[in-house]
Amino acid sequence: MSSNGWAAIPEPPPAATREAYGPALVKLAEAGHDIVALDADLSASTGGNKLAASFPERWFTVGAAEQNMISIAAGLASTGKTVYAASFAVFMPGHCFDQIRVQIAQQRMNVKLIASHGGISVGEDGASAQAIEDLALMTSLPGMNVVVPSDAVEADWAIRRAAEDDEPWYIRLGRPKLPIIHLGVDEPRFELGRAEVIYLEDHVTLIACGLMVEPTMRAAESLAQEGIGARVLNMATIKPLDEAEVIRAAEETGAIVCAEEHNVIGGLGAAVARTLALHCPVPMEQVGINDTFGQSGPWQALLNEYGLTSESVVEAAKRAIARK
């Protein structure tokens, strides 16, 4: 298969996307960015404490008070700072959607919301800790950039790219250690609002974000063994969606599969479905959490239980192709 410069799935030391946050903050501060970072009593888990260690004057914890944190972030941004605010995705936006809506989105504040522990891969903590609806909330806000990096390297690119503009961002990170699919890639391939084309084939297009990108790449390789050429798009930006690349994929491959660690309602699949319906209707299948809450369990077991697997993507691809 044409690999577009991609090697076979590499096997570097795995890393969680959330592990990129603290070091990225330190790099930004060292580079002279006028950043301030806020945490809400979860700084060891988000990694915000790494900035606290090296630039203590640029970091504040507000205690377990996410609403206060978001409005404080807006106030800080009003004085010209680039503000990062971090918590778990269930609490931010879960606890503070109104504050994000009125004070960050409506005021178009320069605040980057870093939501760690997104999705059901949080694992053993169970349903209350598993954000499966955060992308629906955040993509519904006008002007909000919504990004789900696929590995720790891309997370680093996205977190630092966010400091280059003065717009509000929501970046969803994850807890489990994942393969690094951008190993050895020196030039950042993350571009806000642009899909990353991983495989350029023509029988079907597989569009994934976050931790579903790597299994989707494996699905493409499995399909290739059956003679099915699968295009793979890493759609790290959910909003603004790369509609041109989605339409091109629909026109050139005629069948689409979306794979995400989110409710099938309101996330990547919903955004792609809207684009397809408006501009280029083709058969589409979804791999995601089928409108149900999660439960406790090891994260890999949860992904299997809820069908977030390479095998599910293969089956969905075949269903989509059959509907052409």
């Binding site: 504040f60 609403q67 206060n68 409005s71 009003s78 700072k81 009125v102």
Partner: protein, 286 residues
């Protein structure tokens, strides 16, 4: 760019400013046939003292002046008193006032940041202003702004204090040692559904702020001279965040609104009611 605070005006002139602000409030809610006159009339002396009593360092010709004091309306529905005050202070023409709440106007129903210039924060969802002020004060500290510059005044409603986020912010202001914040409570005793004591009791409200580490003053919120003096005292204090609890009457200055405050939380007067209101306002507070 340097700017300086507007000069203070004397007490008689302050009383006249209050009358003009009240006239604008009833006229704009009449024109819009909506809006929030009751909680604007109760806060009239507060805004007059802030902007015309020499309390707030601001410059209408330079609204983005970095060292300016910020006035944040947390009870974001009380836009009539804010627009009336900003227009009187020269931020925009009073001719814009009748456009309040109409399609395309800058004078939105609830406050929107920089619409018009001078509005520091978007609001309308209650309970966010004090947290925003904490963020502003932290930013000013990071920028090494002197303690006597960049003071942040936040006007909160008493009903608004039902919202838990306020208490997160009140806790954090003293935790962070932020001394350039002054909260002003418009203690008008009525909220949307009725008397605050019946809906959700907040007393002893002063003791609560004090327990959270704030320095507390109580003042007659319709004695504009007393409000001004309390605010000047608060602004000069540098050892704790300050709160000035202003005892007020919802709808003050217009008898039929003050006598039925729950009925005048969120609607505009009729033609006849406007005429009566203007007569009473011109007659002064009794």
């Amino acid at each position: 760019m340097t700017s300086s605070p507007l000069p203070a005006i004397d007490t008689d002139a302050l009383v006249d400013v209050c009358k003009r602000i009240r006239r604008h409030i009833v006229e704009m809610t009449h024109a819009a046939q909506s809006g929030h006159p009751g909680g604007s009339l109760s806060a009239t002396e507060i805004f007059a003292a802030l902007y015309f009593g020499g309390v707030v360092r601001h410059d209408p010709s330079n609204p983005q002046w970095v060292q300016r004091d910020r006035v944040i309306l947390s009870k974001g529905h009380a836009t009539p008193v804010v627009y009336a005050t900003l227009a009187e202070a020269g931020y925009f023409s009073t001719e814009l006032i009748p456009s309040f709440r109409s399609l395309g106007t800058e004078l939105q129903g609830h406050v929107v940041r920089n619409k018009p210039a001078g509005v520091e924060m978007s609001g309308g969802a209650l309970g966010m202003g004090l947290s925003f002020a904490v963020g502003v004060a932290l930013g000013h500290n990071l920028d090494d702004l002197p303690e006597d510059e960049g003071h942040v005044f936040v006007v909160v409603g008493d009903g608004e204090l039902n919202e838990g986020q306020n208490w997160e912010a009140i806790m954090s202001a003293s935790h962070f040692g932020l001394h350039r914040i002054t909260a002003i409570v418009d203690r008008n005793h009525f909220q949307n559904d009725g008397p605050g004591d019946e809906i959700m009791r907040i007393d002893p409200v002063g003791d609560k702020w004090a327990a959270f580490g704030w320095s507390v003053q109580h003042v007659d919120g319709h004695d504009v001279e007393a409000v001004r003096d309390a605010l000047l005292t608060a602004r000069a204090c540098t050892d704790a965040p300050q709160v000035v609890i202003c005892e007020t009457v919802k709808g003050r200055g217009v008898s039929f609104m003050a006598e039925n405050p729950a009925g005048w939380h969120g609607k505009g007067p009729s033609d006849e009611q406007l005429a009566q209101a203007l007569r009473e306002i011109d007659g002064g507070l009794t």
